[in-house]
Symmetry: D2
Subunit: 146 residues, 4 copies
């Protein structure tokens, strides 16, 4: 699929670093599908411990998946960024065993603020939720210089 | 502490029922502190598997806790309600071992829609996040009639 | 620029109808740049009576412009839809005399709910705000049948 | 009605200053009902030029009213603050001639960020919308020192 730019390679290493350092991603079985500059696509299979009292994916887990993709994307330039605010719309339910994919992409940035959109879908393309997050970047790298 | 109204007693039973039926609450160690009509206060202790790559509470877990309190509160009249949309502002970080409290209260309702506010704080009162959720009620009870 | 489909022609007529019927669009000097199925792009020039106390575009007017584009887009299939909730992130300021463009596009839909994104920019491409809206459709047309 | 503290007096003067300086408030007929530290209550009567194509209050005007109350409240300590993000839920419609009241109150603050809630109601108490805004304070006063 063409060449990998240095910026995209850095984004991939940042995402892998974050996943290896965080408690949540491994606990939730997060897999990185693709990571590029300003972009991340990750996936997670819904387990019984991720369901609400109605037997469908808990909104908190859907948000958590989206927020994880957001984090990988907004840190992708190796500048630490934190979430300041986010909003989510829930569109459809998902059930145990389904694999959810969260795709995060940068929508806009201005100064230290940036806005990311994350779409959460099932593997067969059913849209589960739309997420919008506001990040603020700090003056520190994620990865130490080589 | 005064009398418990039938409405508050029902709210408590609904919250306990939801917690007993869902995969998430037990997995996260959720405890119900108080449940009343249109209100719920729950708590959770931050574990290593709830932290992000910066070693602090993952935004997804903070949202998940708030969303759980929201669910208990918006189902409290024994009418099933689902989350349609939510927004969250992150105010401060929290670290492993801290006990987070999420307090959900009804702000307004109109027809089948209702708005709830959830404040997430540490046990010593530091505000971690403010959450606002929109629910939509369905025509079905949570608990079967006795 | 190619053919206009019946769906796009209908969308254009709905947008023009709404603009002609509403008090706000004419009062704000709204112009429809383009209207298609699930899409609307409109513009407005910032006047002195649209500025806040700091002499820049009032956030309420930026939202109002975005919300207008959202309305045209989510009614574009000639099914009346109303806004249920919206969120906005403000990215940069704009000043008197600048022409703002709001571009609304459908992001996802499920049943009677749909999510639209609206980007507000200056004519020279500076991003001013990102808006996300949740609509709910009703069982009634906007335009009477011909 | 008790004493007015210096902080509340300052808040009142800031709100009046902002209203006198902005283009929007006078254009919309905004009246300040009450302004205190971290709090503002304002009102506006719905005119024909504030209605949408369905003949009810345009969501943009409802937001604009809420955003104005938010601005007065988050600048109330005479430290300039700007809106970074906001979300709104629309609960009921309002019609021409109705007087809308927006009441803004500080919900939480941390460092330079603060969260405000604004409730928009009719004069007879019908809730029209609930708004949540995130502000960021800058290092400059609103009013020049006396």
């Amino acid at each position: 699929m063409g060449t990998v730019t240095p910026a995209d390679d850095l984004a991939r290493r940042v995402a892998e670093h974050l996943l290896s350092r965080e408690g949540t991603g491994p606990a939730w079985g997060i897999a990185i599908e693709e990571a590029r500059e300003g972009y991340a696509r990750i996936s997670m299979t819904l387990r019984a411990d991720m369901l609400n009292g109605h037997g469908i994916a808990h909104g908190g887990m859907i948000f958590a998946l989206a927020d994880t993709a957001f984090a990988y994307a907004c840190n992708s330039r190796n500048v630490t960024a934190v979430a300041q605010a986010a909003s989510i719309v829930f569109l459809a339910s998902a059930k145990a065993g389904e694999r959810l994919v969260a795709e995060a992409r940068e929508q806009a940035s201005s100064g230290r603020s940036a806005v990311y959109l994350v779409t959460v879908s099932t593997a067969d393309g059913r849209k589960i939720a739309e997420f919008q997050g506001l990040s603020r970047s700090l003056n520190q790298p994620v990865l130490d210089p080589a």
